[in-house]
Symmetry: C4
Subunit: 184 residues, 4 copies
């Protein structure tokens, strides 16, 4: 097994402190599509590779959470399936949600990674230790990010973030072995 | 915050007069997909970045509206969610709809921007002060447009139009700050 | 209005004879996605530009039809909306369907265009006067086609075929004017 | 009919031994999207060209099966429609499923092809005679594959695999003729 990742020393340093990976939903776990049918039912397109990424993060002892302005049954269904630890949905004030969480967990901001794509994500990204923008993020969000993913939201951006953090911590290979053990 | 937009002087001049941003739906707010299920239920894919664009336009005091040949519960659900000011749906005669609106608002055509993608949009585009075609528009529509967006319909074309208009008016930074204040 | 299309003399000759445009559905009117939900409901993604293309064909006096191996409520809903003249759905034997239609209309094969994307379309394509493959067709189908569209199925391939045929017949401008008259 | 495929001698040798083509579902038969609506209903996007590929495999006497960690009504609907021979759904332990199948069929591992895209597919891929990764597979899976498809999952990757195997066995042309006979 040959694992090749290119990360800077500062990325590694920041990643090693991360204990919680937080993320926006639309545009990050999805491509940003807001889909309705003519009866008002909402539909969301998540990604299977991201799903395994969340599983790998959990197997490595990291916590995961979603902070989103939208609240939807689709997010709740997917979050329950993957075992997210924290859900803050329908929150216009993402900073308040973040403050609430960091206080509850008694963790300093440098222990958090946040992955975003649009303006409402910027205030939280300015607080956390590892702010990440997805490839499809708007320019201002990319300017605020320490790292911009190669993958777009909905195409495996979260998986990329998880693998890079685990690689920086030296535990990626172990996480992959755990996935394989479950599947043997 | 570094805001870089390249707009011509004439674009700026036209954009500063705009008070109402009108748009077609299919191909502009969506990629142009017409989706049905086997029970006849219709599905539409909108875009989260466009949604925030409509919000930014409203925070800046601009009015927004949709003029579409199709009428669908999906458009109405999305339009209500985003707070569009005007909805003209199921209208084959877009010019009549536009005449009705400009009369009701007592605004001259130069106060309107219209964003379109296909032949039925051309007659209205020939009337308004700032006619815009999306990247995925058919050639004749692009020929009639003063500006062609870099983004495709359903991938943030309306967000691009809103940001350019606000930038031309010198109020983009203020709109972004307002979004951040709500989210802090 | 500047209309630029590059067609060969033989394409023009064949196109001028066409009175009926026939097409496969999956991969031609759609991108070829077969979509189900967990209750067995089927979903199909058509294209708005294609829809206007069918309308333009009808305004120009051309007949249109679908010959598909699949039968689905989604096709029927879309076909009824656009006013297709002929529907042969659930037909494994496309040649028999074609023979039935050409006999009923008393039209020779050269009066037909057929647009296909996969192996089952080849036998009919070998019969008609203007066989067309979409950009996403498999290689063998492209080899059998007289013309390969620039657009993919579901992204406006049928609109492209209709515009080229109308352009060859010298009636494209008139069709566009008719669309505009309806919309003024 | 001109059939051009570039395969290595070792690919041909391995392909000629294959009697069963097994595959993962998400990311292989689909693009890897996990889609929910707000009522928890799941939606999957399969591909029509893959569908004909499965049909061609069956006409050539090959068996086909799906081994997936997920169980869903969408897979069952599609699998029944296409006539898959074996379904192992909701299986975390793909190797156990594979062992069960190879024992039941009394076939050695070299008689199997497996097409995968993500980590859980690797243990089975290390067992079979012809391990294949789709174009959108993660790097480690590509490293374990003997062949990487040019097409992505959900865009015809399985059709590509079937055609290559039939070509290696010298029976592709016959399979195509069979498809045409059914359609004449």
């Amino acid at each position: 097994m040959e694992l090749k990742y290119q990360i800077s020393e500062e990325f590694a340093e920041r990643a090693r402190k991360v204990e919680v990976i937080l993320m926006d939903c639309d545009g990050v776990l999805t491509a940003g599509e807001i889909v309705y049918d003519s009866h008002g039912v909402e539909i969301k397109h998540f990604n299977a590779h991201d799903g395994l990424g969340i599983k790998m993060a959990r197997l490595a002892g990291l916590k995961t959470g979603i902070i989103s302005m939208r609240d939807s049954g689709t997010i709740r269904t997917r979050a329950q399936e993957l075992g997210y630890d924290f859900l803050y949905l329908g929150r216009m004030d993402k900073c308040t949600a973040f403050a609430d969480l960091s206080k509850k967990l008694n963790l300093e901001p440098e222990k958090f990674c946040f992955v975003g794509d649009d303006l409402p994500d910027v205030p939280v990204m300015q607080l956390v230790g590892l702010p990440v923008a997805v490839q499809n993020a708007v320019d201002i969000v990319k300017q605020q990010a320490f790292y911009v993913t190669q993958k777009k939201g909905g195409e495996g951006a979260i998986r990329e973030v998880v693998e890079l953090i685990l690689y920086a911590r030296g535990s990626l290979e172990e996480s992959i072995e755990k996935i394989w053990q479950v599947n043997q």
